[in-house]
Amino acid sequence: MSEKITRRDFLKLTAMGAAATAVMTGCGPMSRYVVRRPYTQMPEYNQTGESTYYASTCRECPAGCGILVRTREGRALTIEGNPNHPVNRGRLCARGLTAQQGLYNPDRVRGPRFQGRGKPTSPPRDLTWEEAVQVVGSALQKPPERIAFLLGLVPDHLFDLVSELTQALGAPPPLRYGALAALDGRTTLLEATRRLFDTPALPYFDLAQAEVTLAFGADFLQAWLSPVTYTRAYGNMRQGNPRRRGELIVFEPRQSLTAGNADRWVPIAPGSEAHVALALGGRVAELRGLPVPEAFRAVSLEEAARVSGIPAAQLEDLAVTFATAERPLALVGGSALTQPNGLVTAQAVLALNALVNNLGQPGGVFLTPAEATPAPLTAVSDLVRRMQAGEIEVLFIHGVNPLFELPAALGFAAALENVPLVISFAPFPDETALQSDYIFPDHSALESFGYQRSLAGADRPAWSASQPVVVPLYNTRATVDVLLAAAQAIGRALPYRDEVDFIQQKILPLLNAGGFYTAPEILTFWSRWLQYGGWWTPAAGLPAPRSPRLPASFGTLTPPPAPAEGQFYLLTYTNHLGDGSGANRPWLQELPDAMTTVTWNTWVEIHPTTAEHLGLKDDDVVRITTPYGAVEASVYRYPAIRPDTIAIPFGQGHTALGRWAEGRGCNPAQILPAATNPAGDPAFIGTTATLMPTGRRRPLARVESKDGVYGEH
């Protein structure tokens, strides 16, 4: 009896097992049925399952690379380089490649809203665009001299429109500012070219064909002006030149990615670049049998060696290398300019190119058309002063995050309190937007029309076009349209119907300007413009600078003060996070920093011997104090930095900007001075800081194995 039951139980168990297996493995597709809604009108060019590409312009930095956005079923999938575009030739950097994480960022501002500066007494509330236009209109009716526009480096078409608007209103012209431009030293370059060549212009260095390149400060492989252009040129300089493999020598206190790729990295004392450039120039002139220009006599080789900490023999060797090279090129930017001697450095290095006669030559220096140039920091501090004095009633902010990007020492935060009405057009809830009265979000870059016309990386006259690649996700509106509508509402209408009309009118002069396509009228031109992603000439060609008028002196030189005991030169630099606007792209956060492989946080680079001297270990949290403030960061013992220098990357330390950016690392702008160089660019270099261990440790998320790379456990 019991045996039978056991058997039957066994059978039952088997059946149960089989049934359970059937359920768990899922025999049929029931769970997979999903509803699909076909287009009501199937667009001819759009096919489900097939990608559609739109040409546009990357707005992650002001370089203006051409992009092709791959879309499918109305979604932007991947971003690729536009192969025809003169700036990037189909190539793209990490920032551009991850731009769709900005478009689809869950933390975007989803509609116009009253922000109320984050005060509990005036809680945020949503508005309609009609109300928004009304608010902007009444703001524009304020006394014109009390209206201020602070714009970012992109997009150019908005800057053009605001320029026209302020002109029509009689208001002061808009200011353009961005930490990227400031750290690039753009204003200094413009001032130097104005002084030497009479034309303020950003120089274009033909790196690809240069054979010996001296680079002062410019981290052109990662951040400076147009990194994709220069990285492509770098590759061609190394292996694309049939004559010889180009040689790169970089003067930098801290090895940037560019210096890391150089054949020789010269760890120059911060602030002594001008001395070295002048001394090298004098020596090069001698070696080339030229009369040494007066300006280059200011510094002798020995003095330069003493000030910069580079052995004189090495300087001599570099001078010989440069003077005897077939196609020498000297390049300047970044940390060589953002310092008290920056303007002298810029002039000296540009003049050095004139000495070796490479202006307008292959492998030499050209000038790009400089329009809509960024404002110097001095202009911004002037604005801050007026804000502080209560002379500004309305401040419009677009494309820039001054609370994050400006040195805190400038006092922008306090000055903002004195402005009665602040209107932000930010698509993201960044620091400044949250401190505004209103946020009227612009479309994100991939949803907008526009153009970029100052392309520092183009080897030819070029305009780069933007177009929406997806339907706007949220209730956002193009700022140009908002301003046009507001101007119309107050009876100061500009002669443009809307944003597209404005752009079309602005590009009218290009119709027959010798581009690689022409069109009889604007609509045909417009379709080509959108199809190709812009307009440019078929052949390369930029104006050569005229031979310079060398003044007797490039300016006064202040030798860098040697840091006192326990003080270190403080450097900040930009990596792939750029000016910090990339910090809310999770994949940019996840991307290892090229030199340190650190992700998701801020670190402070300290030379290993210095760290040992201070008793600091990797990942120790230190407090970095300057006269302007203090921040905390984890130590990264960086073997390629001067022992008297420490460096902090720019871009982290957000207190707003969404879930991936907030509360991560520190913002070096908090401890930078508001000082400027004679050209008006910030003079960050030369700031000294003290280090104070906090006793805490915060391990950095590095990709490298410390054990494997540094032999430490």
């Binding site: 019991s2 056991t6 054990d707």
Partner: protein, 479 residues
């Protein structure tokens, strides 16, 4: 049946001469019925403490093993501490450990049986149980460590709608097959000698136990023909299971040895693993015997100092053999001259986790060599318990050295990584230990832990004969 009488010296070492042979189980016979009663008592007596242990262990199994595992299945393997490049961690370490433990049963009951080592008789069953339960615990790990355990059946060769078969080139498939074979054969090998004892139990119980034993005893009556067949079957299995046992751990070692991983890619790994397994298995037998002896009724009759003594000698031999293979591993690597493998072995001794390596050597070599030569220590059960526990700690450390510590420092220093076990995997590992103990506890009250008929058979064969003035132990060849 040949009856031979041996001189005393060859049966017992010289040191034993003064000892009374009657201290040995084989020369201390008791009446069959009394012995049966003792076994039945040991099997049916449970205390409050016993049930407390059972419930406690069952809870541990439920929470630490199945709870943590279920949570890991639902959340992801990330709950374990494994990372790139250390993709195998505690799970595989413990897997190898359990497979190693499981070698003891087969070793004791098959090899010692084949070699007619008489001291094996009272504890063959206890060690065979270890084999089966060790395998049961160990065989969980290939499932636990799968990223997608819900499709584990793809590793089973069966015709299917996908037209796909497992990859028979993969050592993991060999492993799967070998472990299944071993589990099956060791279970049968556990069961066969159990039949007469089950029949004994059947005749002395009522109720559900009676029903159970009646079913399991397969109608055993103890006729001459049955005994004959049983002996034949056991003999065949004893010989057949030995190669299976060797193959299983060789194949487990191939999981590593066929890889290109520096430090794994070694031909010595097969025998090295087998020796290690036997060392850890025999040590575990000693530990278990101590526990049985001190917790179960009448076990001090069956398990005596002489058994600890004999197993201690075995352990010493295997510890030396293990050390020899350990040395060989270095020798081969040095001779092979591969930079990466050399660096691995150096890092084991100098790296951040070098203490594991030293722990391994101290427990596996230093401690046995310093203690087990001593007869007094070998005959002190609690000392043996501690020593054998330490040997198993050492063997665990050996597997830990071979798996995560080797994987972490491969050929590309940029990607080196240090592995830290995390609560989930530690909990699962503890859970399998609890599972093993729980199964053992339950089995100890369900089946006779001592093969009564084997002991009785041995006692019948062993007699003291008076030769002249001396009493001389003698053994009758049974088969």
């Amino acid at each position: 049946m040949a009856v031979e009488s041996k001189p005393l010296e060859t049966v017992l070492p010289a040191a034993h001469v003064e000892e009374d042979p009657r201290e040995h189980l084989m020369f201390d016979p008791r009446p069959r019925e009394e012995m049966n009663r003792m076994i039945m008592e040991a099997m049916t007596t449970t205390s409050r403490r016993y049930w407390a242990w059972v419930i406690g262990l069952a809870l541990v199994v439920l929470i630490c093993l199945f709870g943590a595992w279920g949570n890991m299945i639902l959340t992801g393997m990330g709950l374990a501490g494994i990372r790139r490049p250390v993709f195998w961690g505690l799970f595989i370490v413990t897997f190898v450990f359990w497979i190693g433990i499981s070698h003891a049963g087969t070793f004791v009951s098959a090899i010692l049986r084949v070699f007619k080592a008489e001291f094996r008789r009272p504890f063959t069953r206890a060690s065979e149980l270890m084999t089966t339960f060790g395998l049961a615990a160990g065989a969980l790990f290939p499932l636990i460590h799968l990223g997608r355990v819900w499709v584990f059946y793809w590793m089973i060769p069966y015709p299917n709608a996908r037209w796909l078969w497992p990859n028979f080139r993969s050592p993991l498939v060999w492993d799967f097959l070998a472990i299944t074979t071993y589990l099956l054969s060791s279970t049968i090998y556990l069961y066969l000698p159990l039949v007469p004892d089950l029949a004994m139990a059947r005749d002395r119980t009522t109720g559900w136990r009676h029903t159970l034993y009646r079913l399991l005893a397969l109608g055993w009556r103890g006729t001459e023909a049955e005994w004959h067949r049983l002996r034949r079957a056991i003999t065949i299995f004893a010989f057949a299971i030995i190669p299976v046992m060797f193959s299983v751990h060789t194949i487990v070692s191939w999981d590593f040895a066929v890889g290109v991983v520096a430090g794994w890619h070694s031909t010595i790994f097969g025998p090295y693993f087998i020796i290690g397994a036997i060392l850890s298995g025999v040590a575990a037998v000693v530990s278990i015997l101590f526990v049985l002896r001190s917790t179960m009724q009448h076990m001090d009759y069956f398990i005596r100092k002489e058994h600890f003594d004999a197993l201690g000698k075995l352990l010493l031999v295997f510890s030396m053999a293990w050390a020899y293979f350990f040395f060989n591993d270095y020798l081969l690597t040095w001779y092979g001259g591969e930079e990466a493998a050399r660096r691995i072995l150096t890092l084991h001794a100098t790296g951040p986790a070098a203490w594991v390596w030293y722990l391994m050597l101290i427990c596996n070599v230093l401690i046995p060599w310093l203690t087990l030569w001593n007869r007094t220590i070998r005959r002190t059960p609690w000392a043996m318990f501690i020593i054998t526990l330490l040997i198993n700690v050492g063997m665990y450390a050996e597997r830990y050295t071979i798996i995560p510590l080797t994987l972490g420092h491969q050929r590309m220093p940029f990607d080196w990584g240090v592995y830290t076990p995390r609560p989930t995997e530690i909990s699962i590992v503890i859970g399998t230990f609890a599972l093993f103990l729980l199964l053992y506890l339950l089995a100890s009250r369900l089946i006779p832990l001592v093969p009564v008929w084997e002991v009785q058979e041995g006692q019948m064969a062993h007699t003291l004969r008076r030769v002249g003035k001396a009493e001389v132990p003698s053994v009758t060849e049974l088969e």
